[in-house]
């Protein structure tokens, strides 16, 4: 079941231990019980981003849901508790959505986590910080990692975040586009702070995943699909549920 440890250890060594400002969200939908969305958040600016994204992705119009109380202070100020993760539940139209929220900056560790998790992912969002060259460099590592571990038909998208900070830009939009083209993935520049393209990005990825899901479901028989509630009823082998996994790096 678990990822082979030796392999994970090896990966850790190849990778730069000092990965800055990358964000990981993991959406997961278990095959039984409530839909679950897992996310890892190690950059507080992306909380809003995720929140808006999830609203779009799940077609929610209300603001009355709580995803996380994690604030930048808690992350930077090393809250006494040293919180590893939280489990949160939001309820929409009588559907419970459970979220597992990782809010630490333990880079080494989260790589192990994501390696294990995104094997079942249906969508992966790679996010770098345009004011941070290194975060862009790391995207290649992530892509390699994804190609190795994630399923072949996973939807990928790359975001250059913090595009409001033009004066601190280190990575040109061109370079972002080039890298995206190289790997055949969609690309956008976003600003969580200025709410630029954030919803679009999530919506695009969500729509792509959903389209893929719908195609699969259409080809495997009838379903009463409503919104994202596309759970495969056939139990554990279900790879059909829309939000089974979406990983954001």
């Amino acid at each position: 079941m678990d990822a082979p440890m030796e392999k994970l250890e090896m990966e850790k060594q190849e990778m730069d231990p000092d990965l800055p400002d990358s964000d990981v969200y993991i959406f997961d939908r278990r095959t039984s019980g409530a839909p679950e969305i897992k996310l890892k958040l190690n950059n507080a600016t992306t909380y809003q981003e995720f929140r808006e994204g999830i609203k779009k992705a799940l077609n929610i119009n209300t603001n009355e849901f709580v995803i996380s109380t994690t604030s930048r202070e808690e992350i930077n100020g090393e809250a006494s508790w040293g919180i590893d993760f939280k489990i949160r539940t939001i309820e929409l139209d009588e559907k419970k959505i459970k979220l597992q929220i990782w809010d630490t900056a333990g880079q080494e560790r989260f790589r192990t986590i994501t390696t294990a998790y995104y094997r079942g992912a249906m969508g992966i969002m790679l996010v770098y910080d345009i004011t941070n060259e290194k975060s862009f460099d790391n995207i290649r590592t992530w892509i390699r990692n994804i190609e190795e571990h994630a399923s072949k038909d996973v939807e990928k998208m790359m975001l250059g975040n913090k595009c409001d900070l033009q004066d601190r830009r280190q990575v040109s939009k061109d370079r972002g586009e080039q890298l995206a083209i190289e790997h055949g993935i969609k690309f956008m520049e976003t600003s969580a702070k200025a709410s630029i393209n954030v919803e679009e990005a999530f919506f695009t990825l969500a729509r792509d995943i959903k389209a893929k899901m719908d195609r699969k479901i259409d080809s495997t028989g009838p379903s009463k699909s409503a919104g994202y509630q596309l759970s495969g009823k056939d139990g554990s082998s279900s790879k059909k549920s829309f939000w089974r996994s979406c990983v954001l790096l």
Binding site: T69, S80, W81, I83, F85, I87, R88, K98
Partner: protein, 131 residues
């Protein structure tokens, strides 16, 4: 529901009458919430009442520092899958124990989990609100 059991069980659990919060099978009948804020930790019928001696550090909130003092508690709600929780926070493991806290106000520890047993998550009856 044997009312007689309650007084003996409740030695460390002065505020809660166990018979009022669980059914005959020991399953919680009420919502289980944080004592300090309205955060829902567990929905009804999700946890089993168990006897288990465990030392939990005293409750504190986020910016206080870890107290060394604590108390041994006996009554816990047991959940076998962490995704059963509605809202809960997990601390980083300390000597293989992850402490559970309120996901909203971060008050805790309200329970614990041993990393060696992936099928057991305990919420202290005495540290949550029922109903």
């Amino acid at each position: 529901m044997a009312q007689a059991d309650v007084s003996t069980i409740s030695t460390t659990c002065s505020s809660v009458k166990l018979a009022e919060i669980c059914d005959d099978e020991g399953t919680n009948i009420t919502r289980i919430c944080c004592q300090r804020c309205p955060s829902l930790v567990l929905s009804p019928k999700q946890a089993k009442l168990v006897k288990k001696e465990f030392f939990l550090p005293n409750m504190f909130q986020k910016n206080d520092h870890t107290p060394l003092e604590g108390v041994t508690l006996n009554d816990f709600w047991l959940v076998t899958n962490m995704m059963t929780f509605d809202n809960v926070g997990f601390s980083k493991a300390v000597d293989k124990i992850m402490y559970l806290i309120c996901a909203d106000c971060e008050m805790g520890p309200i329970g614990w989990h041993s990393v060696d047993n992936k099928k057991a998550y305990y919420i202290a009856v005495d540290r949550v609100k029922h109903g």
